[in-house]
Amino acid sequence: MWVDIILSLRQELIVAVIIFLLLFIKIGAAAYRTEAMLHFINLLLLANLLLGFFQGGDATLFSGMFHTNRLIVLEKSMLNLATLIVSLQAYSWLKGHRQVLEFYMLLLSTLLGFFFMISSGNLLIFYLGLELSTIPLAALSSFDLEKRRSSEAAMKFILSSAFSSALLLFGISLLYGATGTLGFDTLAGRLDGSAFQLFAFIFILSGFAFKISAVPFHLWTADVYEGSPVTVTAYLSVVSKGAVFFIFILALYTVFKPLAGNWYKIVVLLSVLTMVTGNLFALRQDGLKRLLAFSSIAQSGFILAGITGSSRGGEASVIYFILVYIFSNLGAFGVVSFISAQTGRESVNDYRGLYATNPLLSWVMAISLFSLAGIPPTAGFFGKFFLLMAGAGKGNFVFIGIAALNMVISLYYYLRVIKAIFMDSQPEPIGKLKIPLLPKIAFLVCVAGIVMTGLVGGIYDYIYSLSKGF
């Protein structure tokens, strides 16, 4: 009995154990060498990834509050992987930082929150998980305490998310009033599409939309991404967004399935708005972080397009895309983070002539951007293709056409960066940078992931075999 519970909760437990371990170290050990500590923590994260990766059975705990299955374990492993990569990339930044342990405690707390959120079987646990992840994230965005932008970002983040979760809660309360239940499994049975329920649903939907930065709930994203330390931005854009997408698709496909006829059009609308707005804003950005922020908004639009597919393929393609997205986006953010930590330069123009001095970084950046843009043979191509293909399953080809054209627009700003790196030059290019081991590993993992995830067809099919469908 207890063994089963522990096994089912093993990913959460491991993360919790690591958090407490770090807490005890912080309390107990007065002095430590930052670099050694970083290596140690990364090893812990690796262990976390490997231990959590093993599949167990399906389980439902705490009278339906928490449930897990093979797909959810996979999703959590993906988040673990992303966290590990972010952590590896953070090495150069954290090396000079004093509060390393606090950083990881906060980071892992958010991860724990996401785990609970994904596994939740009840709106209460969902809310708790969400907040457990949001509040430390706000603290993380402020982690460069002395930087104005960092604190501004944190302020915007905490206020916006407080507001959004308040509205989400308002929706939950209305839904509770309408159905009398908070459990996912019972909720689905009681939804009948009445006006009141739909009203409540809109609030809940907007709460999700805020987290995945769908337009018009996305406005915090760019500012927070820009202001936060790059590592945190990477984490936000990948782990946070990915986790919310996992639960979002679960919610739409199972809990709110009775309302599918209603949410389909809304999600299509959000998807179009998100793609278009994200792209249009990204077009005119000079700051690389801000550009990537808007690009990640646009990517959300594409993911939403996959969600509209309302099919097993839709679910699988969304999860698959998030895996691809982890590699691609972290590859790009990794380079930005590394260069930012070394030189403090973050704008597109600063990258002019990068290829002459740092070919490896340039190629990592280029491959990641190609993947984000959906250019074969990178995995991004397959990801986007399947997302839109799933979306096209409903026969809404106008929508798919708009999405496809948006891919063209998005190509422009990715290519702008490529152009700066490979074709332009400047009087003071970024100097030759030596890449330490850990970030290098992270880069290689990202590139390998980008190349392999697509070409090796088995990965998608594995996800497909796990997914439950609509």
Partner: protein
């Protein structure tokens, strides 16, 4: 024969180039890779002939299927018929020549050759594909290397051109994508699985209203690749900014991807819609032919001349496809091959001239025949091929298109054919103008007198492509038998 080798050889070469030491190593490894490709494609041709002679009448030979994404019913599916073999031969030839021409490329030669090999891998894959997903995959593979080749090694407004090319081509493939989705979700009928397989789709009948709906997407999408009016504007800029080898590949191979796609995917899978849209296609093709030719007449930059003339010549491909008669379509295929070789040769010659004189403006050149006879001869041969001189491939292709187009009854089609025929006069005008000013005439700039003629690698490239042009022009029957 394992067809995937054709895709793998360039990739392996690219990797080998990556780890090569020294400039010469890079060059020779690249050349060796291209030569292996060339030998492979000739081997493929020989095997194919033997197989056909032995009476194998399957539509495609050497098929290979591998489940790629089984849940979507996506396969890595390759196979060849005569048309694809012809295109593969073309690719191999142009690739070999392109590498020879880029012998002295600087800087970043390593990257240059790697990208070239990527391009050729994409082209081979495209011509081999029998699955629409695979096809689309390879179609897009070829876009970014072009962007980089133009943007990094190009000249003039290279970034602008590179960006324009990439965006327009991606726009084209976005349309293709929508069309593919439309096809995919209309296969299988009630309860069956959807499919991307070319042969399977061809056997199912796509409902006419669906065809009507998605034909424009696919046709325009592929059409952008092959410079369909009015989506051809990437061609002049892209070609003129690109480095020689990239121009050769771009005009020689990449523009053919579109034509091949139109043929293999669009017309083959949606014959009824093709018939319905035929007037529009013919109209656009005719505009491209005539208008492209007139626009060419006014150009002063050799590369622009060839680029615009490519618009005009690729109009013949579209015209042939749009006319939908057997002869016209086989003419379109011949035109693809012929134009591929011819334009590659043309760009090679222009590149060689530019490398020496550092200008491509016809007014500034002159009397090159005296200074660099070999290069000039190559230029003239390419020019004569372009204006459709018998004995060179251009004539064979154009005549076949004309004959085929004329078979299509109807005033409009007749008029289109006549206009297309008339364009060969305009072609003669601009080709001879360029030749007369740049190649013949007195030497305008005394600095040119000391310039050397082609080096061995350039000569070899010219001879390879020229031999291809002459081989088709003198003995077209083998090509015709191949693509029948």
């Amino acid at each position: 024969m394992n067809l995937s080798l054709l895709v793998l050889v360039p990739l392996i070469t690219a990797v080998a180039v990556l780890f090569c030491k020294g400039l010469n190593g890079i060059r020779w490894v690249s050349l060796a890779g291209a030569t292996v490709q060339l030998l492979l494609s000739f081997g493929l041709l020989a095997l194919y002939w033997r197989e056909r002679a032995a009476g194998d009448s399957a539509a495609f030979l050497y098929e290979y299927r591998h489940a790629w994404f089984p849940s979507w019913n996506i396969w890595y599916h390759v196979g060849v018929d005569g048309v694809s073999i012809a295109m593969i031969l073309l690719t191999a030839l142009v690739m070999e020549a392109a590498i020879l021409v880029s012998w002295a490329i600087k800087p970043m030669s390593r990257e240059f050759f790697i990208l070239l090999h990527f391009l050729s891998a994409g082209a081979y894959g495209f011509f081999l594909s029998l699955d629409l997903f695979t096809l689309f995959f390879f179609l897009e593979v070829s876009v970014i290397p072009k962007f980089l080749l133009i943007g990094v090694w190009g000249s003039g407004r290279k970034e602008y051109s590179a960006m324009k090319l990439a965006l327009m081509l991606m726009g084209g493939s976005a349309l293709v994508f929508v069309g593919l989705m439309g096809l995919y979700y209309n296969t299988g009928g009630a309860g069956g699985t959807h499919s991307f397989d070319l042969m399977e789709i061809a056997q199912m009948h796509i409902p006419v209203e669906v065809q009507r709906q998605f034909f424009p997407f696919l046709f325009v999408g592929f059409g952008i690749f092959t410079a369909l009016f009015p989506f051809h504007t990437w061609v002049p800029d892209g070609h003129s900014s690109a480095p020689t080898a990239a121009s050769m590949f771009l005009a020689g191979i990449s523009m053919k991807l579109g034509g091949y796609g139109c043929l293999r995917v669009v017309v083959f899978l949606m014959p009824e819609a093709a018939r319905e849209y035929s007037p529009v296609i013919v109209l656009l093709a005719t505009i491209a032919i005539v208008y492209g030719a007139f626009a060419t007449m006014m150009q002063k930059d050799l590369k622009y001349i060839n680029a615009y003339s490519s618009v005009s010549h690729c109009g013949f491909i579209i015209l042939g496809i749009g006319m939908l008669t057997r002869t016209a379509i086989s003419g379109a295929v011949m035109q693809m091959i012929s134009h591929g070789l011819m334009t590659a040769l043309f760009f090679a010659a222009i590149g060689m001239i530019y490398d020496r004189t550092h200008t491509r403006m016809v007014q500034q050149l002159g009397g090159l025949l005296k200074i660099m006879p070999f290069i000039s001869t190559v230029f003239v041969v390419a020019g004569l091929c372009s204006l459709g001189l018998p004995g060179l491939s251009g004539f064979v292709a154009e005549i076949t298109v004309f004959m085929g187009s004329w078979e299509r009854a109807g005033e409009m089609y007749r008029l289109a054919t006549i206009l297309a025929c008339a364009s060969i006069v305009i072609t003669a005008v601009y080709i001879l103008r360029a030749t007369g000013q740049a190649i013949m005439g007195p030497v305008k700039d005394p600095h040119y007198n000391g310039l050397g003629d082609a080096t061995w690698n350039e000569k070899l490239a010219g001879i390879l492509l020229g031999a291809g042009i002459i081989a088709i022009g003198v003995a077209p029957f083998w090509l015709q038998a191949l693509i029948k």
